[in-house]
């Protein structure tokens, strides 16, 4: 009977090689030695969307109650062990070769490779995020600057028009007044009105741009918060499973992509100085309103002659026609319209999305004798 152990002992001595892998379970406070890895704890992450749908995905987090360390040793022989882990700290592959020339430094290399990959991944992610943040900030700054410049330009145009009108008015009753002063004053008044409209539109656009960025990035705004995903812990028994909430579902600040600013809706009266000379039978008998958006309808709401409301009798109505480009409206006064200063108040209708909007436009017309 004593011969068999003797034979095994001899066999071991002849071969001279015993390779052993040792995996130890670590208590939460145990210091890690060798390569450590975790078994996963399963969660279901439920991500709600504002339309009431959810996305449910299982996620696997390292379970601190299942942490293990890997070590290996060889007696009188060489071995190679290559332990690769996933980013989560789970085992990926274990390659064990007890008869190669590798040494235990492979263990260190695996750990170093893993840490290097972690660092590179983190740095790349931070770089991408910084680039995105900078692009968004640059776009916001450019949009706000453009809106501010448009407002400033429009304000300057108002000042210029106002100065011109003031100057012409100051000439009235003086020897320096030209014969066409009244016409020039009427034209300057129209130009001032147009500049004021443009300035108002620029102000609105600037305010809208500022509000868009302000509201889109304001922290704590109720409308710009969203509930975070819910983590449900999967707890298993041999014949059942239970889901329990891992964290409370809190609200978090969110952000929405800014909507590109649209061109302001503008209605421009051409020519600026509408002076009609029926007797001359020239092309100046009509005026044109040009819009930056397609016009879907119009309505003459009132007409004044020399400051007095004129009855909208059919025979005295201006003839209004929408042109084929749908952005021009031709307005013609009857040829026998009596001389005077007329004011025509129109409402022009256009579509903004699915809603019909109306814009008030006043056209001043001087009909000469």
């Amino acid at each position: 009977m004593a011969k068999i152990p003797t034979l095994l002992l001899v066999a071991a001595c002849v071969s001279g090689c015993v390779s052993v892998v040792d995996v130890k379970k670590l208590a939460p406070k145990d210091k890690a030695t060798g390569i450590t890895y975790y078994l996963p704890q399963v969660f279901l992450v439920v991500s709600p969307a504002r339309d009431g749908t959810t996305t449910v995905e299982p996620v696997y987090l390292p379970d601190p109650a299942h942490r293990y360390s890997v070590s290996a040793y060889s007696v009188l022989g060489n071995y190679t062990i290559d332990v690769k882990r996933t980013q989560e700290g789970f085992l990926d592959t274990v390659t064990f070769n007890s008869d190669s020339t590798g040494t235990a430094k492979q263990l260190l290399a695996s750990g170093a490779d893993y840490r290097a990959a972690e660092i590179e991944s983190g740095a790349a992610s931070a770089k991408d995020k910084a680039a995105e943040d900078k692009a968004a900030a640059d776009k916001a700054a450019a949009d706000l600057a453009a809106a501010a410049k448009a407002e400033a330009d429009a304000a300057l145009a108002v000042q210029v028009a106002q100065s011109r009108l003031d100057y012409l008015n100051s000439l009235a009753g003086t020897v320096a007044a030209p014969d066409t002063l009244r016409d020039q004053i009427a034209g300057a008044g129209l130009a001032l009105r147009e500049a004021q409209v443009r300035h108002g539109a620029a102000l609105l656009a600037q305010g809208a741009t500022a509000d868009r960025y302000k509201s889109a990035n304001a922290p704590g705004s109720k409308g710009l918060q969203a509930p975070e995903p819910v983590f449900l812990k999967v707890s298993m028994t041999e014949d059942s499973v239970a889901l329990t909430r891992a964290f409370e579902q809190s609200n978090r600040d969110t952000w929405k992509i800014p909507v590109e600013a649209k061109d302001p809706v503008m209605f421009e009266v051409l020519p600026r100085e509408v002076v009609m000379r029926p007797a001359a039978r020239t092309g100046a008998l009509s005026a044109t309103v040009r819009s930056t958006v397609p016009v879907v309808g119009y309505l003459l709401t009132s007409m004044n002659q020399d400051g007095v409301e004129a009855p909208l009798a059919k025979s005295r109505h201006p003839v209004t026609g929408l042109q084929s480009d749908r952005t021009s409206v031709q307005i013609d006064l009857p040829k026998d319209t009596s001389a005077g200063n007329y004011t025509l108040d129109y409402t022009f209708y256009y579509m903004e999305g699915d809603a019909q909007k109306g814009a008030q436009v006043t056209i001043a017309v001087k009909v000469e004798k």
Binding site: T6, L8, V10, A11, A12, V14, S15, G16, C17, V18, S19, V20, D22, V23, K24, K25, L39, P40, Q41, V42, L44, V46, R50, G52, T53, V56, P58, Y60, D63, Y68, V70, Y79, T86, F90, L91, D92, T93, V94, T95, F96, N97, S98, D99, K222, G223, A226, V230, L232, V234, M236, T237, E238, D239, S240, V241, A242, L243, T244, R245, Q249
Partner: protein, 166 residues
């Protein structure tokens, strides 16, 4: 020791032994086991809503924490080249094919119908999105397939998932 005995010893030395050992340790035995731990997978039925009054289901094969396993390569006087591949705590090799055939397709379909009918009867009329349901699919000793599990709970109350910041 005779020449015959030396010859036997030499034969053992040249052949040696190497391979993989596996085990299914209990919680207590896991503390002293020295193999690579992993979980076997088990099938689960996940049921979610589609926000249109319907339910959507799919089978998940999850690492089963009640099925702790170990595997260990060893080498005694021999070569041993072993590669173990894991995925999320499970041993992938020789497992994926087996897992796909654990639950026959027809049984999965039948179990889905049972589960969705049960959920439809219990659901409705509340604010918030109903939390998902997860059922373990398992077979009993008599060869019957069963579902066990349910909806996510806070205590005994089903969790509702907010989708607005109210």
């Amino acid at each position: 020791m005779s020449f015959k005995h030396l010859a036997v010893a030499g034969t053992i030395a040249l052949s040696g032994c190497a391979g993989l050992t596996t085990d299914s340790p209990s919680v207590a035995a896991n503390a002293t086991n020295d193999g690579f731990r992993y979980y076997d997978t088990s099938p689960f039925l996940l049921i979610t809503n589609d926000a249109k009054g319907g339910l959507v289901s799919k089978i998940l094969y999850l690492p089963d924490s009640t099925k702790l396993r170990t595997i260990k390569p060893y080498s005694f006087a021999a070569k041993n080249e072993a590669t173990l591949t894991f995925d999320k705590g499970t041993l992938v090799q020789a497992k994926s094919v087996v897992d796909e055939t654990i639950v026959p397709t027809a049984i999965v379909s039948a179990l889905e119908k049972v589960a969705t009918a049960r959920i439809k009867a219990a659901n409705g009329g509340q604010d918030g999105i109903p939390s998902p349901y997860l059922f373990r699919i398992y077979g009993d000793d008599a060869g019957n397939w069963k579902l066990n599990g349910g909806q996510a709970l806070d205590g005994t109350t089903p969790i509702r998932i907010r989708y607005t910041a109210n």
